[in-house]
Symmetry: C2
Subunit: 231 residues, 2 copies
Amino acid sequence: MVIDKREILATNPLLSGLPADVVEELMAVSVVKQLADGECVYAQGDDGDGLFGVVQGRIRLSNSSREGKELLVMLVEPGDWIGEVSLLDGLPRSLDAFAMGDCAVLFLPRTRFDALLKAKPELYQYFIPMLCRKLRLALSYVEGVALFPLPARLAQRILELLAFYGVNDDKPGMLIDVHLPQEDLAKMLGVSRQAISRELKRFESEGIIQLAYGQLRVMDEVALQRELEQA
Amino acid sequence: MVIDKREILATNPLLSGLPADVVEELMAVSVVKQLADGECVYAQGDDGDGLFGVVQGRIRLSNSSREGKELLVMLVEPGDWIGEVSLLDGLPRSLDAFAMGDCAVLFLPRTRFDALLKAKPELYQYFIPMLCRKLRLALSYVEGVALFPLPARLAQRILELLAFYGVNDDKPGMLIDVHLPQEDLAKMLGVSRQAISRELKRFESEGIIQLAYGQLRVMDEVALQRELEQA
DNA sequence: CCAACACTGTAACTTTATTGACAGTTTTTA
DNA sequence: TAAAAACTGTCAATAAAGTTACAGTGTTGG
């Protein structure tokens, strides 16, 4: 499928908030790239070759140890930019980025990026909220692991997923409408799949959630918040 | 002790790299504040009332759970700014900041900060490297906790402390010249003091480090790096 | 439609770290 | 200089989570 750049930018929040001339410039110098499931956008240790805007699909930002243990740092959705840190500070990529399912990204090569920023230094300010948000997110993860037991962290993560992916269907409760196996949930929290399975089952037995194959339904949001506060 | 602002700024890297007119402006609108040991600079949840530049002493950035368990996120040394995130994104402080020992800080009130940035939007770019550095640091902490066992994380932290505080005296090895009880080391790594004591003792028994009351001497830096890589 | 694959639940066993308790040492301070 | 405070080492008991293993269920693709 060929994707029209104009179309992307019209329907996508990627460029909202940017001055019109910058948008025009971006249209001119960026490229749309199609990515197959599992394809690598960039890898830890790479030089920062450019900036990526997610247009379609989902990107997995993660970090792996030598033995293959993986930490899933975040899922990046359409409308978000990734890879800006290496462009801004010139250091290598600190994470791996992989396509989950087929994706389309808007690619801005580093030379173009540098030229743009050099011409318009006031553009730096557009990266500030992005960096602040990611910094707070990262800090909240450190905080979580260091200060809270698994049940509380899991409850918090479910609440976050609910806020982002939660939908109301005709059935009671709210469905978290995203394909996320317990394996990945475990990798997000830095624990084993079995530990997640055990905790989820406990939540289910207490009527807080309902589980089905590849599905999670939140029945009692307040109970999840309690789980988080008491700990 | 009264501290002269001019003197501070001459000897301190706080303002290096800033344009001369901005330095003048900062001199005019900032205030030097003295802080006693343990005094609070700001607390988690507070509104961002201003920007702080550490001039003298050391600031402890940390995060506490309801039950009093503390995570020591970082030690901030003279020459570093803190508190910029809340000023930049308008959200509450995400950490506590306390003086460790008597400190002096340069305080720039939020209204002055906002006015300065409004007048000179190109100043945003001075915050970019700061935010990138803190983001990478936070990510490396998450990564550490999720992917590596305690011995490797401890070894890494000792190496970081060595790089920053290491001094060569007449004795063999390198002394880490900072007052840092095992209790605080434990709070940095999110584990119990006893676990740290055990691991340090093991390192000592293997000739990697030497311990004394409130002192840590690194005898074999390479062995620490091995500890880190094999895991 | 069925075989391969992906995902989930559970259990026994081991490893790792926590907690609480206490003794001993060094430093600080009154 | 004596008493208080801070810091360290160690141990036993307990808890949390990892690991290994396997059965079972649901989904997908040829």
